[in-house]
Amino acid sequence: MRTAAIDPPGVQWLKVSPKYVTVRLVEWAVGTLLLVAVLALPLVFVQFAGWQWPPLWLAIAVPGLVLIVALWRLVLIPRQVRAIGYAERDDDLLIRRGIFFQRTLVVPYGRMQYVDVAVGPVERALGLCTVKLHTAAAGTHAHLPGLPTAEGARLREQLSARGEARLAGL
């Protein structure tokens, strides 16, 4: 993976499973379909129920624009998934994500309160899981999605063990 400018030097990123793209695609499809369907309702009413307002061009433009934005996001999904990376260092876990808006998160093992492993229906079908780390800070949004189940279990055990060894008070 190309190392971006804000990444700490000398970090070897591990990537999440490429199959996670499918999960994101399903999420995208459900979300977009619902949104476009709701936004297209005025168009239906204008055409078939004789509504005077909104004008036809507006009724077409709103769902059209939303669809274009959604398609743009669809194109980005594979790159976004490729941009998710994590690295286990000696004392902390690094998680990076994002292309346009990049963020690199560091969670010290000693700060972890607990580790969650969550599996959604689509993820389960693909043999993936999401590992979530929790610290005493609510702002820590440390989700690591799209890990193969075995890797997720290994990471959870590893993180718990390291966390216990380095657990510090608040």
């Binding site: 700490p8 005493a136 609510a138 608040l170």
Partner: protein, 500 residues
Amino acid sequence: MSLKGSQAAGSAVHTVDAGWHRVHPASPFVRGWVGLVAVVYFFGRDAFERMLQGRSLVDPHFNARVPWLLAGGGAVLLLAVGGFLLSWYFYRYQVAEGYVRVNTGFLFKQQRQARLDRVQAIDIVQPLLPRILGLAELKFDVADAGRSAVRLSYLPLEQAKQLRATILARAAGVAGVDGVAPVAPEQLVVSVPPSRLLGSLLLSEHTVAIVLGAAASVALSVYTDNDAILLAVIPAFLGIGAAYWGSFNKGYNFSAAISPDGIRFRYGLLDTRVQTLPPGRIQAVKVTQPPIWRIFGWYRIHVNVAGYGGGERHEHAARTTLLPVGRKAEVMRMLSLVLPDPGVDQPERVFSAGLEGLAPRGQTGPLDGFVTTPRRAWLLAPLGWRRNGFLSTRTALLLRSGRWWHALVIVPHQRTQSMTLQQGPLARLFGVADLVLHTTAGPVSPRLFQAGVEQAVELFDQQAASAREARQHESREQLPAQPPISIQQKSIQEEAHHHG
């Protein structure tokens, strides 16, 4: 926690100080006096009015009904008092073996226990009525964002103080087995005169917003020739007045004192509160100065404490205020209390630079120690680029920001939870990045704005390392063998559990 564990702990307790204590017998009446008064008023109003008018106690025309009414009222009253007495009887607490335990309820029992070494802060609260009766509530928080504070209400004030001293001494690991700790002596550090509090409220940002809003509504009503707008403003003003009164009531007579078991704050006009923060419990500090306050050189200080949580409610706002308004010298004194070792040689000079320092226009490097936004990125923050900066000392990270709204945030290294380095497309264009530090919930959210990418990445790496070292040095706190607080609920009827 298993029942077996609690029994084992319980038997160990009996050998040391097995004492289960009860709170003051008046407590349920103080808590539920409104209900009692309502019952008495509802049933006794008629008879009472007659008595006042000097007539016979019972209306001769309703002879048949009145005794029933009185009997009904008496029964309800008796039930209420009986309930109060029962709830008092079953409300017991114990301080032993590193735990505070509180048992409540007679039908649905609840046992709440908190580890003494996990106590983050301890308050003595006196609402108006208990204050008149010389009673006080003892309330202490453990580190779980304020969801489950342990309360003991109400105790006689002296007893509450004694208990607080005992808990704090044991929390600090000072007291031996022999129990009662002496009440620690205090030394006053800072006090805020009421006149300055009033001035600070009148000159706060809220006032500016209100004056602007009032001017706008007057202008609007003149322009549209419509007086109804002015009428609509009246309830808004009542609400604003209530908010000011609330702030004044809470902040009145604020004083901070130092004692061996922590920093002690007192404040309140009608309801008073004494708050004790044991040393090392503060997660992050923020000193701010709105533009108008600069005329008088006033500042205020807020903190994040793990047990206080981040609620919007007024109580939280008051509790997370370390200094509602103070001059610079007082700010320095408070900072030296909460950060005894700032990790620099001249802390006052560094804090001053953090509060009002401004980097020179030219690229001459950091003069006052703060690394600011590089000149190339001035377009992103045309006002703040010479202010936004950081300084990492041996023990803490200082973040300053705001050209008009001066702000200085201090996070001790060993309190850093996790960090995010962020960069959007615009920031990438100018070669800068933001660093966000995560701390426990509270009014302070530390963020370094627009630091040069090289410095930000270096700080990110370095900060992780210094936080690690600081944590390793801090060996005072032990590993928690059990969660800091645990609640057991069981009912007499097993079915009740299933019904929810």
